[in-house]
C-alpha cells in the first residue's frame, strides 16, 4: 500500500522568495508526523500544499496516491484540516458550524446531525450546541475546529498549531483526543512550536528551517543523536568558562547559564563540582527543545 503522503523535491516559491525548498518526506498510514521549526520555516506552506489550497511550484506531491493539482476535490473529501487561524463561521452556532461544514462534504443531513452530536461530545462541547461562536473561549473554539475537521471522518487529519494559545487543560484534552484518533487508525500530520507537544505526540518528526529539513526521526532518537541523554546546567561565570575550557568539555553559554550536553552526566557533574568553583551544578534529561535550539539557533525570528 502506498504511503498516505509522498513528497519529493517539493518546492514552493512566492514571488522569488523560496518558502519550501526541495523537501522529501513520506507519511505512513496510522502515524502522527510532526513538522517543527521556527516562524517562517515553511511549515504552514507545506501544510497548505498537502491540503490542496496552495499549488506547488515544482517537485512531486501525492496524497492518497493522487496529485493535488489534478484531483483536489477527491483528496480534500478525505482530509480534515485544523488551520492555524480560527476560521469558524460566526454566523452560525456550534452545531450550525458542523452541519454547514458537513454539507460541503455532501454528508446527508440526518447523518450529519448524528455526527455533529457525536463530535460535540468528543470535544466536550455538547452543552454549547446552540451557543454562538463569539461566546466561546479560545480553547472551546480550537476544540470546535477539531470537531469540524473530523466531520467527514477523514483518513488524514492535518493540524497547524492545534493548541496555540490554549491553557494546559485544553491542550491535554486535545492531545488525548489526537492519541485516541491515532489508535482508531487515523493518520495525523501536525505542525507545532511546542516541543513538549511534539515529543508527546509524534511518532516521527522533522525539524525545518528556511524551507528545508534539518533532521528527521523519532523524538527519542533525535534527542539521543543530536544532544545526548542529559544536560548539565551551571551558572555563567568566568571561572566556570575557564574551567570547562581547561577540561576540554564542549559547552554552550547564553544569558546567565552554561550548558553541557552529555551521556554520562553523573561522572561529569562530579568532576565539574570538584574542579570548577561553582555553587550550582544541576542535571536534567535532554529534551527536544535542546535539539531544536541546537539546530535552529537562539536568534529571534519574526
Amino acid at each position: 500500500m502506498p504511503d498516505i503522503i509522498e513528497a519529493d523535491d517539493l518546492t514552493k516559491t512566492y514571488n522569488e522568495i523560496v518558502a519550501v525548498s526541495h523537501i522529501r518526506f513520506s507519511v505512513k498510514k496510522g502515524e502522527i508526523f510532526g513538522f517543527l521549526g521556527p516562524n517562517g520555516a515553511g511549515k504552514t506552506t507545506t501544510m497548505r500544499m498537502i491540503e490542496c489550497v496552495s499549488p506547488r511550484t515544482s517537485g512531486t506531491l501525492r496524497v492518497f496516491g493522487m496529485d493535488p493539482d489534478t484531483d483536489p476535490a477527491r483528496i480534500k473529501q478525505r482530509i480534515g484540516v485544523v488551520p492555524q487561524e480560527t476560521n469558524l463561521d460566526p454566523d452560525f452556532t456550534c452545531q450550525g458550524n458542523l452541519l454547514t461544514y458537513a454539507r460541503y462534504f455532501d454528508i446527508p443531513p440526518a447523518d450529519a446531525e448524528k455526527r455533529a452530536e457525536n463530535l460535540l461530545a468528543f470535544v466536550a462541547l455538547t452543552e454549547k450546541r446552540n451557543t454562538a461562536i463569539d461566546k466561546l473561549s479560545g480553547g472551546m473554539k480550537r476544540r470546535l475546529i477539531l470537531a469540524r475537521a473530523l466531520i467527514n471522518n477523514p483518513d488524514l487529519l492535518i493540524l497547524d498549531e492545534p493548541t496555540i494559545g490554549l491553557d494546559p487543560q485544553a491542550r491535554h484534552l486535545i492531545w488525548e483526543r489526537l492519541r485516541l484518533l491515532r489508535t482508531q487508525g487515523n493518520t495525523i500530520v501536525l505542525t507545532t512550536h511546542y516541543l513538549d507537544e511534539a515529543a508527546r505526540l509524534c511518532d516521527r518528526l522533522v525539524i525545518m528551517d528556511h524551507g528545508t529539513f534539518l533532521v528527521e526521526g523519532t523524538p527519542a532518537d533525535l534527542v539521543r543523536e543530536q544532544v545526548g541523554s542529559e544536560i548539565i546546567e551551571m551558572d555563567n561565570t568566568p571561572e566556570v568558562i575557564t574551567c570547562l575550557a581547561d577540561l576540554g568539555v564542549p559547552y554552550e553559554s547564553f544569558g546567565d547559564q552554561v550548558q553541557v550536553a552529555t551521556d554520562a552526566s553523573r561522572e561529569l557533574a562530579k568532576t565539574l563540582l570538584d574542579r570548577c568553583k561553582t555553587s550550582r551544578v544541576s542535571t536534567r534529561p535532554a529534551t527536544l527543545e535542546d535539539v531544536f535550539l541546537k539546530l535552529t539557533g537562539r536568534t529571534l525570528r519574526e
Partner: protein, 261 residues
C-alpha cells in the same frame, strides 16, 4: 496561473455556498425583508407622488409609473452590488469563511460562483418584495411585470460580477467606498431612472448606454412594467448578457489570483 479570461471550472458544489448564505439570511429574515418594502413605499410616495405632482407625464406615462421600474432596477443593483462588495469582503477577509470552505471539496471557483449566485438572489428577493407594493399603488401592470423577477436575477448577476471584481482587487474595506459613490451613485441618477436620458447632451447618453449596466436594466424593467417594447430591446439584452458573462468570469479569476497563492 490562469489568465483573467480563462473560463473557470465551476461545479454544482457552488450551490452549497449559496445555501450557506441563504441560511444566514433567513436566520434574520425580519430585518432583511423590511428594507425593500420600506424603500418601495418611500420612493413611490416621495418621488412618485410628491415630485410627480409637478411633472405630470413623461412620454405619455404618469411620473409614478415612469419611475416604478427604476425603483426595482435600483434595488436589484444595490442588493447585488453591496452583497458582493461589503458582504463578500467581510466573509472573505474578516470571517475567513472562504479559507474554511476551500479546505473542503469546494474550489475557490465554486465559492465565488456561489457568492455571485447569492448576490443575484438578493436582487430577486428585493424585487419580489417590492412588486406587491407597486401592484397596490397600481403603477405596474400584470402579468408582464412578473418578468421583473427573472430580470432582477440577470441584472443582479451583472452587478454581483461587477462588485466581485472590485472586492477582488480592493486593498481594504474602506476603498470599497470608491466604486460605491463614484460608480453606483452616479449610475443611480443618470441611467434613465428618474428622467429620460434624451434630456441629456448626446455625449452623456452614449456614456450611459456604453458603460452603465443600470441603463439597460432600467430599460428592460420599464418594458416589462408598462408594458411596452422599446426600440433598443436587442441592444439592452445583448449588453446585459455579455457584460454579465465578462464580469463574472473576470471576477472569479481575479479572486483566484487574490486568494490562491
Amino acid at each position: 496561473m490562469p489568465s483573467i479570461w480563462s473560463f473557470p471550472r465551476i461545479t454544482r458544489r457552488a450551490g452549497k455556498v449559496w445555501q450557506r448564505n441563504l441560511n444566514v439570511f433567513f436566520k434574520t429574515w425580519k430585518v432583511n425583508f423590511f428594507p425593500p418594502f420600506i424603500e418601495a413605499l418611500l420612493y413611490l410616495t416621495a418621488i412618485g407622488l410628491g415630485i410627480g405632482t409637478y411633472i405630470g407625464t413623461i412620454d405619455g406615462v404618469s411620473y409614478i409609473r415612469y419611475i416604478a421600474p427604476a425603483v426595482l432596477a435600483i434595488s436589484a443593483m444595490n442588493s447585488a452590488f453591496f452583497e458582493c462588495t461589503y458582504g463578500s469582503y467581510v466573509r472573505m477577509y474578516y470571517q475567513k469563511s472562504f479559507d474554511a470552505i476551500i479546505a473542503t471539496p469546494l474550489s475557490i471557483e465554486d465559492v465565488i460562483a456561489g457568492e455571485l449566485l447569492w448576490g443575484a438572489t438578493r436582487s430577486v428577493i428585493s424585487v419580489t418584495i417590492m412588486l406587491p407594493v407597486l401592484v397596490v399603488f397600481g403603477v405596474i401592470s400584470l402579468p408582464f411585470s412578473l418578468l421583473a423577477i427573472p430580470l432582477a436575477f440577470l441584472g443582479g448577476l451583472t452587478f454581483a460580477g461587477l462588485a466581485m471584481c472590485f472586492t477582488a482587487i480592493t486593498p481594504s474595506i474602506d476603498t470599497l467606498n470608491y466604486p460605491s459613490f463614484l460608480l453606483i451613485t452616479p449610475m443611480m441618477l443618470f441611467s434613465g431612472t428618474f428622467f429620460p436620458l434624451s434630456v441629456l447632451p448626446a455625449i452623456f447618453q452614449y456614456v450611459a448606454l456604453a458603460i452603465f449596466p443600470l441603463t439597460h436594466l432600467v430599460a428592460l424593467m420599464r418594458m416589462a412594467t408598462l408594458p411596452s417594447v422599446g426600440a433598443l430591446l436587442p441592444l439592452n439584452i445583448a449588453w446585459i448578457l455579455v457584460a454579465t458573462i465578462i464580469f463574472c468570469i473576470i471576477s472569479i479569476n481575479l479572486m483566484r489570483r487574490r486568494l490562491i497563492v
